[in-house]
């Protein structure tokens, strides 16, 4: 018998009871899938998505300035390609010949297929379709170049490479918001996926150092610092995000003198950051608790100062433990950005609501919500994938096992 058939039979039909369950589940899945497909291909009217794809992507960002976002997308694709390639090219002799592991080949295939199909399905103009294809080509090409020639780069250059990522973030901010000679685009004109990603990436990047500081403060021997951290963490964790968002909109204006109070969009970003930091602090705290006391003692007995011991001995180990729950926090942070629509920001959900309120697209809610769900799922899946790769790299034992 064919081995695949044999395995299927062994896994799914080992006993009569197993067989029954399998058949019943197959029935349920089949029915669900067929009614979904019927909806997707005959009832759903995807014109609502096609007509509004730019709105979903960037909101009311001025059309004559959108080249900046294209440039940013291309830069992000390049950075992704380089990072991906460098990770794979990690000079590990035992991994010889796996510059393109199977999963990577699948990922590239999926990317190319998506960049061909999606713009076409969205009914974008041929020149825009071509642009997406070019961006994908940049990503794949740099992935190959970095994987192939990355190891040959001089050491100092390789060590400086990660600094490119924060630099890219700053460049991105300038490209989006203007400055340095670019016309300024006010935050109230940012929207859609652009705003969602901006808000969540800002909060994720900044809540990380804040959360680590809070976690350290909570373990500090200075009572004031310790109690301050505890109070902050417990207060934030006890309050629903939506109330904090409203509070932020109303209160930051009072707290900060006149012109200093940030724009609405930035106020929301700061509230998200401060909110996430409290949760992150708890994740980091559990990581710190998992590092045995002897580690700090060994570091101190070698003459390291407290900051040195934390930076090179305790935190790297704590981070590895805390990483899965931290990524969980990041994923819920990404989803929590939908609450921003309630304070009037035009992020993905806010954009979706204006689209659905348009009489031309009456009754097309299902299509819009479905698209939103898929978009969020994609972002979260990307976060999850990235974190798993990071987790493997932070775990020397796993690296050793795979060798």
């Amino acid at each position: 018998m064919n081995p695949l058939l044999r395995r299927l039979r062994h896994d799914l039909f080992a006993t009569p009871a197993d067989g029954l369950i399998t058949l019943a589940l197959l029935g349920v899945i089949g029915a669900g899938a067929s009614s979904f497909l019927r909806w997707a291909f005959s009832q759903a009217r995807w014109a609502v998505i096609q007509a509004n794809s730019t709105l979903f992507a960037v909101g009311r960002y001025p059309i004559d300035q959108q080249w900046r976002l294209w440039l940013l997308t291309a830069l992000l694709a390049a950075a992704t390609g380089i990072t991906w390639g460098m990770l794979r090219s990690h000079p590990r002799p035992d991994r010889g010949g796996t510059l393109w592991p199977r999963n990577d080949r699948i990922a590239v295939g999926l990317l190319v297929a998506l960049s061909l199909l999606l713009p076409w399905m969205l009914g974008l103009s041929p020149s825009v379709q071509l642009r997406w294809l070019a961006i994908t080509a940049v990503l794949v090409l740099l992935r190959w170049l970095a994987g192939r020639f990355g190891p040959l780069l001089p050491g100092p250059f390789k060590r400086l490479l990660p600094l490119g990522l924060p630099l890219l973030y700053l460049i991105g901010m300038v490209l989006i918001g203007g400055g340095l000679g670019l016309a300024s685009v006010s935050p109230s004109e940012w929207g859609g996926l652009l705003l969602t990603l901006l808000q969540s990436s800002f909060a994720i990047l900044l809540c990380f150092p804040l959360g680590v500081l809070l976690a350290l403060g909570r373990r500090s021997e200075l009572p004031l610092l310790r109690w301050g951290s505890v109070l902050y963490i417990e207060f934030i964790r006890g309050a629903p995000l939506i109330t904090l968002l409203f509070l932020g909109q109303n209160m930051l204006g009072f707290l900060l003198p006149g012109g200093l109070a940030p724009e609405r969009v930035w106020r929301a970003a700061w509230v998200l950051t401060l909110f996430a930091a409290a949760y992150l602090a708890e994740a980091v705290r559990s990581g710190l608790a998992a590092v045995p006391r002897g580690q700090l003692e060994a570091a101190r007995s070698l003459g390291m100062s407290m900051p040195q011991a934390f930076a090179s001995v305790v935190l790297p180990q704590a981070m590895r433990v805390a990483l899965p729950s931290m990524v969980g926090q990041f994923i819920s942070l990404l989803q929590d950005t939908t609450l921003l629509s309630l304070i009037g920001l035009m992020e993905l959900l806010g954009t979706a609501r204006t689209v659905m309120a348009n009489p031309a697209f009456l009754g097309r809610n299902a299509e819009v919500y479905f698209t939103l769900a898929v978009l969020f799922w994609c972002c979260c899946a990307a976060l999850g994938l990235g974190s798993r790769a990071l987790e493997r790299r932070l775990d020397p034992a796993a690296i050793a096992r795979s060798g």
Partner: protein, 260 residues
């Protein structure tokens, strides 16, 4: 018990140069009120190997951990290589650079390779060049007999190998004194010897060592003096032959009856 003269000694009052550790009347209470050290005196000379023995809970670990300020103490004074231990953080950091410590549980850094474990502190603390430290680290790993494991992670080594890495790590800081807190107590019997051999070689190189151990053979062959602690006090300090064959204190005799 000699009367302590706390805090009069300052770092400028350098004791005779051959005294590496001078502990006088050290008393320590743990935060829960337990009186762990009840006035301990000990002098360790340059190049000397001192072995500390004693029943479990007698305060051996507490005592040697005060030498590099891993534990604080409330009364008495400790001078290490001319530097008086006080609350002054600069003194503490200075002393820790000069005093190496090897722990019962190895305490290697599991996220770093063996080589990086050894190189980390000299680069960070002594600000030495990476290449130079790396060379020295490889030489030290060679000396403790595990040069070929340099690129592995601690979790991939046996206990005996890990402890030898820990010794190399301490040595790479070029300390003037090495403290050992039961370095072989969590090792399988067949690995005890490889670690003791390394320590014996260090002693032959005239490195000052204070060793808490239950290894009688090591104490007899390597130690210049043996210290017996019981109930937070130093009961007896004697040369090994005298200590093991004819201890002067009744408490030592009882202890030896139990372990020999």
């Amino acid at each position: 018990m000699s009367q302590p003269s706390p805090s009069i000694l300052s770092s400028s009052a350098t004791p005779p140069s051959d005294v590496m550790i001078d502990a006088r009347g050290v008393q320590k209470w743990y935060p829960n009120g337990y009186h762990a050290l009840r006035g301990c005196d000990l002098t360790v000379n340059r190049g000397e190997v001192v072995v500390i023995m004693g029943p479990s809970g007698s305060g051996k670990s507490t005592f040697i951990r005060t030498f590099n300020a891993l534990e604080d103490f409330q009364k008495g004074s400790i001078t290490v290589d001319g530097i008086t231990l006080s609350d002054d953080l600069r003194h503490i950091d200075a002393i820790r650079r000069e005093v190496g410590m090897v722990f019962q549980q190895f305490n290697l850094f599991p996220h770093l390779t063996v080589l990086d474990n050894v190189c980390l502190a000299p680069v960070l603390v002594r600000k030495r060049s990476k290449a130079e430290v790396r060379e020295q680290a490889l030489a030290l790993l060679q000396r403790v007999g595990i040069a070929e494991q340099a690129d592995k992670y601690p979790g991939q080594l046996s206990g005996g190998q890990q402890q030898r890495v820990a010794i190399a790590r301490a040595l790479c800081m070029e300390p003037r004194i090495l403290l050992f807190d039961e370095p072989t107590s969590s090792l399988d019997p067949e690995m005890v010897r490889e670690v003791l051999e390394v320590m014996q070689n260090l002693a032959a190189d005239a490195i000052t060592m204070v060793v808490v151990t239950h290894e009688v053979k090591f104490a007899r062959q390597v130690a210049h003096r043996v210290v017996l602690m019981a109930e937070g006090e130093v009961v007896e300090v004697a040369e090994p032959e005298a200590f093991f064959t004819n201890p002067s204190q009744e408490r030592s005799r009882r202890f030896l009856d139990q372990i020999l």
